[in-house]
């Protein structure tokens, strides 16, 4: 065993800061999560696994000893809502299902992105070293990767955050079939079915019926009964069969109250092993969440104005001054979602919801500040997450026999002044090199948002008022947008020909900027996603109008 580990170390490219081997971490304060806290103990790591842990464990002779006196050791954190290493959306195309049901589309070789229950994510992963490091540096050691959009998104993979070769060491695949409420890519009028929420739910329902039928044919055929018709070969239906049988869970993305209820209804209808993923409005659907097999609570808090019930407010008599107060009260309510669910007896894992790693940990702190017990938060990020992913025997706590995914920090990793020093993934040590102060602030180590200075340099400054010209097949349309920038986040409003609307999901990455507005077009609420590049006082890019197609836009900042 040790020889093979040594050989592996010799043959693999040597990565700076990553060291394999047999380790003994001594004198550490060990938070095992499963079996309480060991105030002063030793962890022995061999062959990527925890060999022993306890207050009286003696380091073996061959181990490299790391004295962690005064340091804290935690199980590595698990994020069940990641797209890390996933190639950016492959191009859609093809005719797709003309009628409903997964069966129709599968004969064509063309990808039908978002409608691919048989898509195996493990086959596609190409994580970059910097993405791995960014997540690992805050203490995340394992991520569940699946696409973030689509009705049937594919079969997810649980990936350890080693170096690029991580995919070779995948913990589990498939973990689950990932589902959601988005339709076929590039669909719309004259486009592919299903384009709308209406169609998506019908499509999902039909596909699950198709899978049941397929399963019945397979079963009879396998029984070898003479005269039984042979079922067709269909990778997508084959992938759905274990889902309708309850052998593979369905991870259903659902954040808003009605989404959660819809997902749970589908789960009930087909007796799925349903895990609700997101549940940012879970506090409004506690009864529904209790019917699900599992819950993964996203900490990517929605904006108050995007919350179900906001319009109700305008029909209630209230004083003129309560807008701002309501706004902050709702923000508190959203941040206390996890606390509310915990108090109501809902068991859940916590996840980033797609937020950047630093922001994720900052949001965990907000959830704790809003009333979620800190120990529950740590469990939700470790053992409970491992349980939901079906790997509770391998990950999630510091126990002998489990995978050696560990985080060493100066203090509590969920505290305000977390300071991660090193991270073990599969027993491989990664040193955390402290980033320069400015980057730490941006990463959200200690409450990134709110009133802090903007970063100078690499990130575009987008704040101000922009005159936008959107060019579509229908001609030009004018809009003006006023935004403020806080770190990488944009907030503001846009005055369009359809009225003044909120700018949401505004993000700045280097010189690139994305933001979204939601407007009613022909009675349908349509999200328009802008993706552009900022060059001084100019901005250019594309606007994705969902079902309505796409457009280009240019912007000029008003002096």
């Amino acid at each position: 065993m040790r020889l093979s580990a040594l050989l592996a170390a010799l043959t693999l490219p040597c990565v700076v800061g990553a060291q394999e081997g047999t380790w003994a971490l001594t004198n550490a304060r060990i938070e095992t999560v499963a079996r309480g806290v060991i105030e002063r103990g030793t962890i022995v790591i061999r062959d990527g696994l925890i060999e022993a842990v306890g207050p009286d464990v003696r380091p073996p002779a061959d181990a490299r000893i790391v004295d962690l006196a005064g340091k804290h050791v935690f199980p590595g954190l698990i994020d069940l809502t990641s797209t890390l290493g996933l190639p950016s959306a492959p191009a859609g195309g093809g005719q797709g299902g003309q009628q409903g049901g997964a069966a129709q589309g599968s004969a064509t070789p063309v990808r039908n992105v978002g409608l691919e229950p048989g898509r195996v994510i493990a086959d596609e992963l190409r994580p970059s070293a910097s993405d791995l490091r960014t997540a690992r540096d805050v203490g995340i050691t394992t991520v569940l990767v699946a696409p973030s959009r689509g009705a049937f998104r594919g079969l997810s993979a649980l990936v350890p955050l080693r170096e690029e070769s991580a995919i070779r060491y995948i913990v589990k695949s498939p973990v689950a079939l990932h589902m959601g409420f988005e339709g076929a890519q590039g669909s719309g009028f004259g486009g592919r079915y299903p384009a709308t929420l209406l169609g998506v739910i019908a499509y999902e329902r039909q596909s699950l019926y198709d899978a049941r039928h397929h399963a019945a044919l397979q079963e009879r055929h396998r029984a070898g009964t003479r005269g039984a018709v042979r079922p067709s070969y269909d990778a997508d239906l084959d992938a759905l069969v274990p889902v309708v049988r309850g052998a593979v869970p369905a991870f259903f993305s659902a954040n808003r109250e009605n989404e959660i209820r819809r997902a749970v209804r589908i789960g009930d209808e087909f007796d799925l092993k349903l895990v609700v993923v997101g549940a940012t409005e879970g506090f409004r659907a506690i009864d529904a969440l209790k019917r699900a097999e599992g819950v993964v609570v996203s900490l990517d808090f929605p904006r108050p104005t995007a919350v179900t019930g906001w319009s109700y407010r305008s029909t209630q008599r209230h004083a003129l001054d309560d807008s701002a107060a309501t706004d902050s009260a709702v923000r508190r309510l959203l941040e206390s979602n996890a606390a509310t669910l915990h108090a109501a007896g809902v068991r859940f894992a916590l996840a980033s919801g797609g937020a950047r790693p630093g922001e994720f940990l900052a949001n965990v702190r907000k959830a704790i500040a809003a009333g979620l017990p800190r120990d529950v938060a740590l469990q939700a990020l470790t053992v409970r997450a491992a349980d939901v992913a079906g790997v509770g025997t391998q990950l999630g706590s510091i126990e002998a026999g489990k995978i050696a995914n560990l985080v060493v920090a100066e203090r509590d990793i969920l505290g305000d002044s977390a300071n991660v020093r090193m991270v073990f993934v599969d027993g491989i040590r990664h040193e955390v090199i402290a980033p320069p102060a400015s980057e730490r602030r941006r990463g959200g180590g200690a409450g990134a948002r709110g009133g802090e200075r903007e970063d100078a340099g690499e990130m575009a400054r987008v704040a101000g008022t922009w005159d936008l010209t959107v060019t579509s097949a229908q001609g030009d349309n004018q809009a003006s947008m006023t935004v403020t920038q806080s770190g990488a986040t944009l907030d503001g409003t846009m005055a369009t020909e359809l009225g003044t609307v909120q700018v949401t999901d505004g993000r700045v990455t280097g010189q690139r900027v994305t933001f979204t507005i939601t407007v009613p077009i022909s009675g349908q609420t349509t999200a328009i996603v802008f993706r552009g590049t900022v060059d001084g006082n100019r901005m250019t890019g594309t606007a994705d109008l969902g079902a309505m197609g796409s457009a280009t836009f240019t912007g000029e900042r008003r002096p």
Binding site: Q98, Q99, S187, F189, G190, G191, R192, Y193, A195, T196, L197, L198, G199, I201, A202, R205, Q206, Y209, D210, H213, R220, A223, A228, V229, N258, R261, V307, G309, W310, S311, Y312, R313, S314, T315, Q316, R317, H318, A319, L320, D321, D322, S323, A324, S328, A329, V330, L333, V470, S472, A473, Q474, E497, L498, G499, P520, I521, S522, G523, Q524, G549
Partner: protein
């Protein structure tokens, strides 16, 4: 309706402030002014005004009291089925009308609503609505019988509240008209403030949207480069598609019947029969064939209405209602003979080629020939003033007051198959009522209170009216500020 990628088309049903009246626009502007006033207000005042920050109002829907025992007294009661009672009382017990009449005693312990000087009518039923839905048109295929409006209901569409303020209590939430056979409808009650599931009108028979003419032919749509034209492109294609769909539904039903027969006769040693593959689209069409699902058919021209009646006759089902049906006056006898209803606009026409032959006398003329006619909104805006739309049938076509009232109450209820439950003020029916401050057909009248199942879901005395906002502004800024923000 013409759909444009961006920009404002004709019709009021478009902007972000869908269905906005002048008064509402003023309120909105004042609200914006108030927003900036927030900044100026001292934090102490702001805090006081905001109430307890722990329970933000918008997320705490106050459920109206159950209204176990309610009496509306001394009101003019327009029953829609049994004439008008000049000074009458309505007693509501457990959400149902327990008594109605002139000499009805007020039971002890009843919550009394003083109806003196007020008019009470049955809650208005809108047979054509797209409120409360998160998506409307699955326009990718011309047959989408498998999609269900019930799946996409939302409880927080502001249109619902505005409908309550217009006395509307029941809505037929329909799929859009992009497809020959659109989605399954959802009949709902306007229980604004309750979760989406609670909107559903329990016990209402299921229905489905059909559509004919320009919308499904997609002649009035801009086709973007690279987009395919969808079949059918002509009215004959629409008919072919309908006949093909119902022929498939018949075959599908036969397959299931054969399976049910064969299942019982499987001999030992033979493989058990696997049931036919369930097809949700054909399931819905089989229900239509069997008369279990009501067809609501968007239509304009007389020739296509006759075509639809012929197709329905050939396949043995009834069209429950023709929607829009602007040329219905030309074929009223045929519609009446087929037992179909007609749900039309009061005076909305010429917005597209196939709507050119519309006349405002349509509703009254069809009613004269024995068609059960309703006036619908097809718009969150028009839905607020359906009582005025009904009055137009009196003005143009000479419909009687009771006939006009039925056009927004009993007739649409009949078209939706819920006339045993709502649509008139009768003992045993659901206590869905609208209370007006004057005659509902008088131009200046407005809804004071709207009840559903005996619960008050709208009460103008507590609603955020323009007067209320202006009063608040006067208290805060003095009158000068108010005049400044008014246009």
């Amino acid at each position: 309706m013409k759909s444009r990628v961006w920009g404002q088309g004709p019709g009021a049903n478009r902007g972000p402030f869908k269905g906005e009246t002048d008064a509402m626009r003023i309120i909105r502007r004042i609200s914006f002014a108030a927003l900036s006033a927030t900044v100026l207000a001292s934090s102490a005042i702001a805090q006081q005004a905001a109430g307890s920050p722990e329970t933000p109002r918008l997320l705490a829907y106050p459920v109206p009291p159950a209204g176990r025992l309610v009496a509306i007294t001394n009101a003019t009661i327009m029953t829609a089925s049994n004439g008008t009672i000049p000074r009458g009382t309505i007693v509501i017990r457990d959400g149902k009308i327990a008594a109605v009449g002139a000499g009805v005693a007020i039971p002890a312990g009843a919550q009394v609503i003083d109806g003196n000087g007020k008019y009470v009518i049955p809650g208005i039923v809108d047979a054509h609505s797209h409120s409360a839905s998160e998506s409307i048109n699955e326009g990718t295929q011309s047959i989408t019988a498998q999609v269900r409006m019930e799946d996409v209901l939302r409880q927080d569409a502001i249109g619902l509240y505005r409908e309550l303020a217009g006395g509307v209590t029941t809505l037929n939430i329909l799929h859009g008209s992009a497809n020959t056979i659109g989605g399954q409808n959802a009949t709902v009650k306007v229980r604004w403030g309750l979760p989406a599931d609670s909107l559903l009108f329990q016990g209402a028979p299921p229905g489905i949207k059909f559509a004919l003419g320009e919308n499904v032919r997609q002649t009035n749509r801009t086709v973007l480069p690279g987009q395919e034209r969808r079949y059918p492109r002509t009215r004959m294609g629409v008919e072919e598609l309908l006949r093909d769909a119902f022929t498939r539904a018949q075959e599908y039903r036969r397959d299931w019947q054969e399976y049910e027969r064969g299942r019982r006769n499987v001999k030992k040693g033979q493989p058990a029969l696997v049931p036919p593959k369930r097809d949700l689209q054909l399931d819905a069409l089989v229900e239509v064939l069997e008369g279990k699902r009501l067809v609501h058919c968007h239509s304009y021209r007389a020739d296509e209405i006759l075509m639809m009646l012929q197709v329905a006759k050939d396949f043995g089902f009834r069209v429950a209602s023709f929607q829009h049906v602007l040329e219905g006056y030309k074929v009223a006898d045929e519609i009446a003979a087929a037992g179909s209803g007609a749900s039309t606009f009061a005076d909305n026409w010429a917005y597209k080629l196939e709507a050119f032959d519309a006349i405002p006398h349509n509703a009254a003329l069809m009613a004269e020939r024995g068609v059960r006619v309703s006036i619908n909104s097809d718009s969150d805006e028009r839905a607020r003033r359906l009582y005025q739309e009904a009055a137009k049938a009196m003005h143009y076509g000479g419909a009687s007051e009771e006939e006009a009232l039925k056009m927004i109450t009993l007739h649409p209820a009949w078209q939706l198959g819920v006339d045993k439950r709502v649509g008139s003020i009768e003992v045993g029916k659901d206590a869905d009522l609208a209370i007006f401050n004057g005659h509902p057909f008088a131009p200046a009248s407005r809804v004071e209170m709207t009840l559903i199942d005996g619960r008050v879901f709208f009460d103008r005395s507590t609603a955020p009216t323009l007067e209320h906002l202006m009063e608040l502004l006067r208290q805060k800024q003095g009158p000068r500020q108010v005049t400044e923000v008014l246009p």
